[in-house]
């Protein structure tokens, strides 16, 4: 093994920083999934009948579906009867006051760097904090409501704004869309809801922070963002989980609905527990994220930095229905040790003069497998649709894999699709050049990787970009030589 390979080996043994657990008194329901469990969840959340019916229908659909197996992933069989579908802290803050919250819970978020006390919160970022199955609190709600912006937990939206939830839930990701979306629709527990009225430019970043804490618990949150005509919102999502030996299932659904000239920017920094260096434990991250550019000149932009999870399986997608609408996907997916990622996007061009851009940067280290899977579809009526895709893979070491699966379906000949793909290894020459100038191996790696990812970092909101860079450095600690 060459020196550089040894350096790489050394580096891949970094520890997961967020792996601790909190001792919070929890209200959980028994393991297992059945119609009764679906009813129980709905009852716990005091939901209206229509929503219970919606869930039950989803459960029926799910029961008849089969787990998909087309991704390039190696998944231990999931026993859906061995999962707890609802876990919530017993002492929940009421009326948005944190006084009654379990102090341990507040400490949990403090420790994650997400203080829930508004005075301490980063100015300019409103946070909805979700632990296990429920949202704990949402900051800056009042300030936002002055502008007519609704930003609250999904459960609250069901109570306070049922008409909006009823209109849009499942409008972008229908219950029968796929196996995990159906499962989520049946048992989803909480998540965030966001509504931006006509002409409003949301003045702060909206953010949801997800934390899995309880053992043997699945997390099934649902996020719904509706942007009316001429509105703008930038939305951030972050997540972590404790280190546990068993795999934990996270099957979320995110729906974005953008009307005329609305612009929604959705950024994710995903840092679920990836499992230990031998591949034990870790979160299964099976997520359905889709945005519908329904309106004329609407625009949805997905930016994701994926560093966590044992298995990631997600394809944030855009349906470009409105004429001249724009879909964007910027992604950095890092896999290390035994992690597996099968991620990418789907850009479905339905309207005229629609445009999409895909920039995907995969980084594989250790024995990990990293796949980009993307579909660009140009439908019959999509005159003059344009797509540009760039998929780059960076390999660190010689035991990891990078794969690219681009699918292109064109039904309208006026469409133009460009695809570029590169695979490179962190070059020994680049490393030597940097170290010759006095940089340590680690600094050199970080520099090269950051340079490689720059196009995507540029898309992230400022504070987040810094965070993401740090996260990348931690994930790859020592990964290259």
């Amino acid at each position: 093994m060459s020196d550089s390979m040894q350096t790489l080996e050394k580096h891949t043994k970094s520890e997961y920083k967020y792996g601790w657990t909190s001792d919070i008194e929890m209200d959980t329901i028994p393991k297992g999934l059945s119609e009764d469990v679906v009813r129980m969840i709905s009852a716990k959340k005091n939901e209206p009948q229509w929503l219970l019916d919606w869930r039950l229908e989803a459960f029926r659909i799910w029961s008849e579906m089969k787990e998909p197996d087309w991704a390039k992933l190696n998944i231990n069989p999931i026993d859906y009867q061995d999962i707890i579908y609802f876990a919530a802290p017993k002492k929940q803050p009421k009326l948005n006051s944190l006084d009654e919250a379990d102090p341990e819970l507040l400490r949990t978020f403090e420790r994650l760097g997400i203080p829930l006390n508004e005075q301490k919160v980063l100015a300019g970022v409103a946070v909805d904090a979700v632990i296990d199955s429920v949202s704990v609190t949402t900051t800056f709600k009042e300030k936002l409501s002055e502008l007519g912006i609704i930003f609250c937990s999904f459960s609250e939206a069901v109570q306070e704004h049922p008409e909006l939830v009823k209109e849009y839930i499942g409008s972008v990701v229908p219950r029968n869309d796929n196996y995990f979306a159906a499962l989520n629709s049946a048992v989803f527990s909480d998540g965030s809801f966001c509504y931006i009225p006509k002409g409003v430019h949301c003045p702060m970043e909206l953010s949801t922070y997800f934390r899995i804490n309880a053992a043997n618990t699945g997390q099934f949150e649902r996020t719904l963002i509706v942007a009316e005509d001429d509105s703008y919102v930038s939305y951030l999502e972050g997540c972590t989980a404790p280190m546990r030996d068993e795999n934990q299932l996270h099957a979320a659904v995110v729906e974005i609905f953008a009307k005329d000239r609305a612009f929604v920017k959705y950024s994710t920094v995903q840092n679920w527990y990836p499992g230990d260096k031998d591949g034990k434990g870790g979160v299964y991250n099976f997520v359905t994220k889709r945005g519908l550019c329904d309106g004329y000149r609407s625009r949805i932009s997905w930016t994701q930095v994926e560093t966590g999870s044992a298995i990631t399986w997600k394809y944030p997608s855009c349906v470009l229905k409105g004429n001249e609408s724009i879909g964007e996907f910027y992604s950095i997916a890092v896999t290390n040790n035994h992690q597996q990622a099968d991620t990418g996007t789907k850009m479905t061009h339905l309207g005229k003069n629609t445009k999409s851009t895909i920039i995907s940067k995969g980084i594989s280290a250790g024995r990990s497998q990293n796949s980009y899977r993307g579909l660009v579809k140009i439908a019959k009526k999509a005159e003059n649709a344009r797509n540009f895709s760039e998929c780059d893979s960076l390999l660190m070491g010689d035991r990891c894999g990078a794969h690219t699966f681009p699918y292109i379906e064109i039904e309208n000949q006026s469409g133009k699709v460009e695809h570029e793909a590169t695979t490179s290894k962190i070059g020994a020459d680049q490393m030597f050049y940097c170290t010759q100038r006095g940089l340590s191996d680690e600094d050199a790696i970080n520099l090269i990787v950051n340079g490689y990812c720059k196009e995507v970092f540029n898309e992230l909101p400022m504070e987040f970009a810094v965070e993401a860079q740090k996260l990348l450095e931690i994930s790859l600690e020592g990964s290259v030589g």
């Binding site: 060459s2 020196d3 550089s4 070059g427 020994a428 020459d429 680049q430 030597f432 050049y433 940097c434 170290t435 010759q436 100038r437 006095g438 940089l439 340590s440 191996d441 600094d443 050199a444 520099l447 090269i448 950051n450 340079g451 490689y452 990812c453 720059k454 196009e455």
Partner: protein, 253 residues
């Protein structure tokens, strides 16, 4: 400052350096000339500590310590600088950011205070002016899409900000037009000082018109076969390398 004794080095089991002896004292400029494939660049890489170059014999002493014991970054922080014949491109990393990083890592190693962005910019502007370089160069990605001349000037810029004790310049003159060559030579000359040594690796004598060396060595087939003053370079320019090769062949083994 630098003492190389009977240095032997191989690349993929092929011996390239076959017993090199060389001593550079502070303040001296040495030139190494030689035909293609004689081992000139290998000498530079071995001094800088590149991975694939295996030292099979001999010693290198630098400022009293065993250079071969140090990793490339440690050597660099001790003051060894290698100007690359083919500088490497690193996309997405801005030149200014790179310069700031390397300067601060060097300052840290020397126990000096790191420079903030303003101080750095001041330093860079000053150096750019002396090198006749455009400030726009700082914004571009490191060597990415640079012309040959720009890359070489960028190497000199890095050398200027790092202020090494020993600067090895590997064919810095190759691919340069006469104007660029002068800029590079001026850069080197302005840095000549009592406590700094230079090892200029070149194929042609041309550069040595502008950087006048104290000692010229001729490297043939992994060995220094002749050393002399600057006139040796002129003689080589005149006669080519063949006469030295023949002389060497004529010498008893």
């Amino acid at each position: 400052m630098l003492k190389i004794k009977d240095l032997r080095a191989s690349v993929e089991d092929t011996e390239i350096l076959k017993g090199v002896n060389l001593e550079i004292k502070p303040g001296e400029v040495h030139a190494i000339m030689g035909p293609n494939g004689s081992g000139k660049s290998t000498l530079g890489f071995v001094l800088a500590g590149k991975d694939d170059y295996e030292v099979t014999g001999g010693t290198i002493e630098f400022k009293g310590q065993d250079l071969l014991e140090l990793d490339p970054d440690e050597r660099a922080r001790e003051g060894v600088f290698l100007g690359f014949q083919y500088p490497v491109e690193i996309p997405g990393v801005s030149n200014s950011n790179f310069l700031k990083m390397i300067v601060n890592s060097m300052r840290k190693a020397r126990g000096e205070k790191e420079l903030d962005s303003l101080e750095m910019l001041k330093l860079l502007k000053e150096k750019l002016a002396t090198l006749g370089m455009n400030i726009n160069m700082l914004k571009r990605s490191l060597n990415d899409g640079f012309s040959g001349g720009e890359k070489k000037r960028n190497e000199i810029l890095q050398m200027a900000v790092l202020e090494p004790t020993l600067a090895i310049l590997d064919e810095t003159d190759s691919g340069l037009d006469i104007d660029a060559l002068k800029v590079v030579a001026d850069g080197v000359n302005s840095m000549r000082s009592e406590d700094r040594g230079f090892l200029i690796i070149t194929h042609y004598q041309r550069l040595l018109n502008y950087i006048v060396p104290d000692v010229v060595h001729v490297l043939v087939d992994g060995k220094i076969v002749k050393s002399g003053d600057k006139n040796l370079a002129l003689e080589l320019e005149d006669k080519g390398y063949d006469w030295i090769k023949e002389n060497k062949a004529a010498q008893p083994a």
